[in-house]
Symmetry: C2
Amino acid sequence: MNHAIKQMEWAFKEIYKFSSKIPIRTHINIGERQNSLIMPVFLPSSQYFIVKIVNIRSDKIPSIVGVINVFDVNSGDLIAIMDGGSITQMRTGAASGLATRYLSNEDSKDLVLFGTGSQALYQIDAVLEVRDISFIGVVGSSAKKSNSFSKIIKNNYSIECSPIKSSEIPGNSIICTATTSQLPVFSDEQIPPGCHINAIGSYQPLSREIPSSTILRSKIVVDHLKMCILEAGDLIIPKEEKIWSFENIYCEIGELVLGLVPSRENKKEITLFKSVGNAVQDLAIVNYIMRKL
Amino acid sequence: MNHAIKQMEWAFKEIYKFSSKIPIRTHINIGERQNSLIMPVFLPSSQYFIVKIVNIRSDKIPSIVGVINVFDVNSGDLIAIMDGGSITQMRTGAASGLATRYLSNEDSKDLVLFGTGSQALYQIDAVLEVRDISFIGVVGSSAKKSNSFSKIIKNNYSIECSPIKSSEIPGNSIICTATTSQLPVFSDEQIPPGCHINAIGSYQPLSREIPSSTILRSKIVVDHLKMCILEAGDLIIPKEEKIWSFENIYCEIGELVLGLVPSRENKKEITLFKSVGNAVQDLAIVNYIMRKL
């Protein structure tokens, strides 16, 4: 995970620098339950051209399955086929890790996780990599899921972990929302000062995990502005409500990595990293794997 | 090839019926020489969802390499990976075969081929399937290529075949243009009455194989109007010259298959099938292969 977070530094710099050249991904609805994303990316700085295809459905575990086709830029030949599900989870986790390093308070001790799916595990992995966490609170869609997920975490990481309610979020927490919810998973007054939120579950314009009022009072950093304008329901909905605008976004995370703007400015502010995911992140992981082969 | 032509009947009916639901494919330029096409397609009438990725470059043989990812609609799982190059050539040939069946004069005896690449072979295969051809004329980009290609054809098909000039096209010919040329490959006065043209080489707005004046005097049938408006240089260039309009298109080939409009109306007219290619055609071949497995 440490290497993956490092790769995200490269990815988000590239996204910021080549924003206009990164194609918008295609969404295709397969029946009523499945959304397929077709994500091609080519960058002059990589010798591989990749096309990721992932199928996402909320009624299955894992919810993300798919494949990454890796082509050699020089020959045009297909040279590798990689598992799209695990790389998606790895890079999505790593992105939250990087955002947490730049945006959360350095002395944050509590991690609160919304969601108990496989993506949630990668979020934990990534946050533990960058902050010294002593308690993990889990908010699942049912008591049963929260309990069994908490037990797994406790056994795997030897860190205190238990189900909590969204009203029990400690001050100064790192919060990851990794659900398939279409409606906000907490209410704004439940977020105490000093928290950092990684909002990664929603990637369609009509669904969101974060209430508008939290968007209004947060310093918002996005993965890729162009894509968030099209896909990030967490931001699009408050914009449609005419109480917020994309001009209020603080920066892309690539600008933090490049040192173009300061990150967190005081201990009390609420920071929020909104990511819908980008194929450049997958390319970053693919580049790493190819170097190791 | 006979089965493939049959599958194109299904494909073009589907394209006509579900036109608005077929996603526009994505073009990505890889360096200066390579164009990559990302073509996803899902139709309610197929149990497979496919994503084809093909890399096209004029400096290599074969010029088209790539892969087709086949997903099961019910599970979302990747269930097959097929060669994108050969299926593209097969379905492109089959489309010309189908168009030739509907549009050329039944007593056409001469086939004229522009291009000597691997796509040209599939064009021959397909036309021989639907018409009783006794002579094949080859117009290549060099005498050497035309000669060696003609020899291969003669040996493979036991049909009289020789290089010809574009000024020597016989009346009533079936003409296939399967080149990577960016400029017209013949002049309009070289096309005698009764010819049918399959124009399949050009698939980008700035390149064409057919001169404007031939477009003006032909009955034009397209594979998919929506895509041709975006990609078919053969039609876009005369439109940009303001001497022709997309309203002059006679029909989509799916309408011929469905019997909604008559096909050729007299022995003298020039008919022209313009195809930029569509992933539904690939899906039709994939469906056939999956049934046979």
